[in-house]
Symmetry: C2
Subunit: 496 residues, 2 copies
């Protein structure tokens, strides 16, 4: 077994001081410099070649094809942030020029988003590349101009170390300060706490469990200067199967759902953990079709022993709840590392009476809630609480008849999907991977997509500033050619 040098609290202090020193210059870097840096990180990750994929496979039990796809996603994510920096409007440059003749006279006021400072990132276990060391949190924070300190996820320390090495190479190539990105190992709570509570740290990104996210939020709150924590924590991603759709092609629907439930051994934040259906003639056939798909599914290894153990425990606990009945489970015996795909059913009354059935079961599991009528279905939907996603499977007629359900979902979720599956999160400007508590700790933001960079910045105004003290984005001459809101009009023009 490889030995990883565990950080001490003194190491954390040194790392954060280095991050503070790096921030002094990195925050002044131009959008183009940061874009090139992000692209260089992508190139260096690609340059790690097969060794990275093989290491990640060994540490995460994920298959090669999945990790190749995830590496592509990670690199594209870095490139997308580079494109965003070059387009430039994301800084929300807003200019109101002076009105000296008004009573009272108005000053010249100009606003833009500036970086918060050093960011601590706790990567996710389930995406060792795309949501980890050089994942969305790191990419968006570096794009924003914030140095990053990543605590390596203990589930894939070697993978994390290799990716960290690639980022450090990019730092050298781009001649950035060493403290722009740092990587520390630490398995105990004390290292995470020291990172969150260090006075230099200005924000935290976290992807993981509800318990972990809340612990980090509380560490941050107890600082003399509380800081924001962006934690993506817990979601059961309800899928509503509407009546006409359900009766049209139960086999195809079952295949789609089972594929999403078992994808990556169910280890997606957006795994469809709850299926909501109304009693109708086609339901028994549909459930049977779903059961058959689950029964025929092949158990695959989970990320690591801890996650498997947690899945088994949580599954057992859920199946022991009043009214919960196993529909089917995978019939192939898995190996000792595999989590067994399983779908259970419960009546709406039992679901509504038991808040524990709303808790995430992280793994290849889904619970079907059977509702006697449309009113009960609406009630079940409303009771699910804050979610990353809601999905509606429905024909046009179904959706026409159920607009209030979509409205309810909009009030509870970050993303509403129609006739697709929630697994699979696109990195693009319009993506929201967020939502009300407990899905995240702050529903104003997303942790995937280009909006993720907004977490690491805040607005600052300059009143009657000389031109030479203004950031380039706010100067009269619009050298960056970015879109700006000038006297309430959008413009790319210079100011006279």
């Amino acid at each position: 077994m490889t030995h990883f040098p565990e950080a001490t609290v003194a190491d954390i202090d040194q790392a954060m001081q280095l991050a503070a020193a790096a921030f002094a210059s990195f925050r002044q870097s131009s959008p183009e410099e940061r874009a090139v840096f992000l692209e260089t990180i992508g190139q260096q990750i690609e340059a790690l070649g097969d060794a990275l994929i093989e290491t990640a496979m060994a540490e995460s039990n994920l298959p090669q094809a999945r990790l190749l796809g995830e590496r592509g996603r990670t690199v594209n994510q870095l490139r997308s942030f580079a494109d965003m920096l070059r387009e430039g409007s994301w800084v929300e440059a807003t200019i109101d020029t002076a009105l000296p003749e008004r009573t009272p006279p108005r000053s010249d006021i100009r606003k833009m988003l500036i970086p918060l400072g050093p960011v601590v990132v706790f990567g996710a276990a389930n995406f060792p590349l795309a949501f980890s060391t050089a994942g969305g949190d790191t990419a968006s924070a570096l794009a924003a101009g914030c140095p990053v300190v990543v605590k390596a996820h203990p589930g894939h320390p070697l993978t994390s170390g290799m990716v960290a090495g690639a980022i450090q190479k990019a730092i050298e190539i781009c001649k950035l300060p060493a403290g722009t990105f740092q990587h520390v190992y630490g398995s105990g709570f004390d290292i995470g706490k020291a990172l969150v509570q260090h006075p230099v740290t200005q924000a935290v990104g976290f992807t993981g469990s509800l318990i972990g996210g809340l612990a980090i939020r509380d560490y941050a709150r107890l600082r003399p200067q509380p800081i924001p924590v962006f934690a993506e924590m817990s979601s059961i991603n309800p899928v509503v199967l509407l009546t006409e759709k359900l009766s049209q092609d139960p086999q195809a629907l079952a295949k789609t759902l089972a594929g999403s439930i078992t994808l990556g051994a169910g280890q997606f934040c957006t795994n469809p953990g709850l299926l909501i259906v109304q009693e109708q003639p086609a339901l028994p056939e549909s459930l049977e079709a779903l059961g058959q798909e689950i029964a025929a599914s092949i158990p695959t290894p989970m990320l690591h022993a801890g996650i498997l153990h947690h899945y088994q425990q949580k599954l057992e606990h859920t199946l022991a709840q009043k009214g919960v009945t196993v529909l089917r489970h995978a019939e192939t015996a898995g190996g000792e590392k595999t989590g067994q795909p399983l779908v259970a059913t419960v009546l709406a009354a039992d679901f509504l009476a038991n808040p524990q059935l709303k808790e995430e079961v992280f793994g290849p599991f889904s619970l079907v809630v059977r509702c006697a009528d449309a009113a009960t279905l609406a009630q079940v939907l409303a009771a699910t609480g804050g979610q990353l996603t809601f999905t509606f499977m429905g024909t046009e007629a179904d959706l026409q008849q159920n607009q209030t359900l979509v409205d309810t979902a909009q009030q509870l979720g970050g993303r509403i999907i129609f006739n697709g599956v929630p697994t699979g999160v696109e990195v693009c400007p319009s993506m929201v991977h967020g939502g009300p508590f407990p899905a995240t700790s702050d529903s104003h933001f997303t942790s995937v997509g280009l909006g993720a960079a907004k977490r690491w910045v805040r607005p600052v105004s300059f009143q009657d500033s000389p031109q030479f003290l203004l950031p380039e984005a706010l100067q009269n001459t619009n050298k960056l050619k970015i879109w700006r809101l000038v006297n309430t009009q959008w413009s790319q023009a210079d100011i006279n």
Copy 2:
């Protein structure tokens, strides 16, 4: 004395249920409907005429001219949000159309900001109109599509009631649900707590003390579903007086500073409570000039007995700290309601050694920190912590030589002012009235200016949604003619 019906916890429940019912339709209202509503509120406030000004004068001790100005600001603020709604780009409509030929295919994804839900507002004592019942928090929340429940500030209950009446008339005129705006009285902590902890409440706006803001933040955190609290709390608004500027016209500078320190009896969130200077030949003359202005200032009544008492206590405490010396105080004897303008000095070493000197003294007080050299001045500036504003008084040469000070200020403050005073906050798109803790509880947002509406909304994505289920701002036909980010390009065009 007028009797105000104190709300009970049962009343709060009823009010919040009414707010929830109103939200169901108010959130669906068009931008134009909300714009007309805000304008109608402005008209109804104006229609209250002199009676409103007289009532506010009696309750707040503020002079007529100030309250006339404040009423104008309140009405203009409502109109500015109406303009923002009509311009429409503030919802951040972002569209990425489907790429069916890509591997893997990309779905059609569309994002915009949607309202959070019913908002509870605790208005400020110091602006009975502009930061209270129909002030910035209420105007921005209504603009965002969120029903509002205001707890009347106990310092001006009659004024608050009259303004609430104007809003309720506007609700009738615009045929909106009664729960769109509600007004409750309650002097005990239990009513505030019940409002913040009611399950219907989705966000809280607060302007007031650090202790009050933190208490509300903790009430919100202890809910089963924690909600965001936007508290504007505490700032001493450092003013750096640079060397050349100080020597040029000490009399004029002293007049400007004393005017800002004593404006409105010092009861501004942006009152300049800290002046930072470097020892130099012109300093004694400058301090004498400032002292003379303060000595000649006329004490004016403070808002109410509680605030006066608190000012006196806090002032006494500050003057008792090691090294703090009174420079001058107002020589005219005030009445029993007035707070005495006073400026004191302290050496940098004593300031740096005593965190209590960084605490806000709410009233007509400022502390001059004398620094032996430039390095000490930089240290004092960095030690001031999170602030609403920083101000630099400097010639072009001063500012050229002190760019690193401006840089430090940018990292700690929400607004950087050059050769002006921090009092006076413009309501415009580029304003930031915010900043790192303890200035506010969330530096990502502003409580003044059009950005204030962003506090009450969150992003939601729609994936492969039929057109009829999309909000108007995201439909192919851009009926609202708003600027949207379509496939990473800004556009007002329809989508084919």
